[in-house]
């Protein structure tokens, strides 16, 4: 299976590569539209700040390319947030794949949320074989409110969307590549999705 990781200079992707290696898959890291279009699966990673990440996406000419991808695409953490319509972080217009907004956590909470929290209301083959209230590793200051695209929710202050799905696009706020065996199962399920 050909897996491409979108390369737009958005931080550390080595652990993502290793997580796929442990599943027997060797991803290609690329910003080349043709290599992305030809892959069986595309991963849209992201750490850091939304505004500058979106600017990097534009520099790499990927703003139009990503929404047109036809195979299963998985956005992780900031990758998922950039697939939304808008983010409060840096007043950033996103790719608009998911019609929802990204907001800052309530200032009364410890921010960033760092650590392991549960995912519930699991509603996708992405979570096949994964029990309700499984723990995933999260590190983020901005969140997507619960909405019709939600396929998992997590509670931190309010209950928010910790995974999204629309058509061939999936997003997880948590880091499956850092969430132990259960996280690895999410990546495996993503590889096994029926196109």
């Amino acid at each position: 299976m050909k897996v491409s990781i979108i390369d737009y200079g958005a931080g550390n992707i080595q652990s993502l590569i290793f997580a796929f290696n442990r599943l027997g898959v060797h991803p290609v890291v690329t910003d080349h539209p043709k290599l992305l279009a030809e892959a069986d699966r595309v991963i849209f990673p992201g750490v850091g700040e939304a505004g500058s990440a979106m600017a990097k996406l534009r520099q790499h000419g990927l703003e139009e390319v990503i929404p047109q991808l036809k195979q299963p695409v998985l956005g992780i953490c900031l990758g998922m947030q950039l697939m939304c319509a808008y983010s409060e972080e840096g007043d950033t217009r996103g790719l608009g794949i998911f019609d929802c907004e990204v907001k800052h956590f309530d200032r009364k909470l410890k921010v960033p949320q760092i650590g392991w929290n549960t995912i519930t209301n699991l509603k996708s083959p992405l979570f096949k074989g994964i029990e309700e209230n499984s723990y995933m590793y999260l590190v983020h200051s901005y969140y997507v409110a619960n909405n019709p695209h939600s396929i998992a929710t997590t509670k931190y202050g309010e209950t928010y969307a910790s995974a999204l799905h629309r058509n061939n696009f999936y997003g997880t706020q948590f880091h499956p590549e850092k969430s132990g065996e259960i996280g690895a199962k999410v990546l495996e399920n993503f590889l096994n999705l029926k196109d």
Binding site: G11, N12, Q14, S15, F18, A19, N21, R22, V47, G48, E49, R107, L109, K110, V111, P112, Q113, I114, G115, W116, N117, T118, Y135, Y137, V139, H140, S141, K155, Y156, H175, E177, K178, S179, G180, E181, G183, A184
Partner: protein
């Protein structure tokens, strides 16, 4: 619910763990990758690797170690010890570290925190603070607690938060190594005044100490070394105990 984190800390020198370890079935007790894998399997929530090598050449050994840890370990880990530049951090993150921690270099040049946060994001910048209570005042110490400064712990903690730290790792030099419990009074004050997570370090000796630092110290995470390395407190047993004490914990 967000759970409290249990974090074993591994001291690294020239790519090997330094402290003795009594895990009998490890093929090589000094191999940090094997120990890290084992802690991850046992339920550690994160790991910290603290490098105590001194020279540039040995730092490259550290980046190689980070690469091998990332290859095998599927939970987050932080790397610290002697980090003083954006270049150091870039190298370690590219090798696969999730977070880095800075300590003395940030006290000497606080702008380093801003540079790291804006370049790599606050989420991967942990600022470690070693402090000691001197005549009723908590003073920041450098070089592993050897060198005293006039910097006040609480003022410094606020400043590093302001400069973009994502997390604070507070070690009480008065408690470190005593096994008499964490510095819960100072921790609780830190936790109340900051809006970023606080990791408690120094003083773990019993399971009750962990409970106390989460309840009284209001810590978001607790770090320890010897009680884990010497098998005095097995992680699964500790986590079951804490869960029974009504502390949110991942099992």
């Amino acid at each position: 619910m967000l759970t409290k984190r249990i974090i074993p800390c591994l001291d690294i020198k020239d790519g090997r763990t330094v402290k003795g370890i009594n895990f009998k079935d490890l093929a090589d007790a000094g191999d940090p990758v094997e120990l890290a894998e084992r802690y991850a399997r046992e339920g550690a929530d994160e790991l910290v690797f603290l490098d105590i090598s001194a020279t540039e050449e040995k730092r490259r050994t550290l980046a190689e170690l980070v690469y091998h840890v990332a290859e095998k370990v599927n939970i987050p880990f932080t790397v610290g010890g002697g980090i003083s530049s954006v270049e150091d951090v870039g190298m370690l993150l590219r090798a696969g570290a999730d977070k880095i921690s800075v300590n003395s270099a940030a006290v000497k040049r606080p702008e380093l925190i801003n540079e790291l946060a804006s370049r790599f994001g606050s989420q991967c910048v942990v600022v470690a603070i070693d402090a000691k209570n001197v005549d009723g005042k908590w003073l920041v110490h450098l070089v592993g607690g050897k060198v005293a400064t006039e910097v006040d712990l609480f003022e410094w903690a606020l400043e590093v938060q302001e400069r973009g730290a994502g997390e604070i790792l507070f070690t009480s030099m008065d408690h470190d190594g005593t096994k008499n419990g964490f510095a819960n009074e100072a921790l609780s004050k830190l936790s109340d005044m900051l809006h970023i997570p606080v990791i408690a370090s120094g003083g773990a000796g019993t399971k009750e100490h962990f409970k106390d630092t989460f309840k009284e110290g209001k810590a978001d995470a607790a770090l320890a070394a010897s009680v884990f390395h010497y098998g005095e407190i097995p992680i699964p047993e500790l986590k079951t105990y804490l869960k029974n004490e009504q502390i949110p914990i991942r099992i």
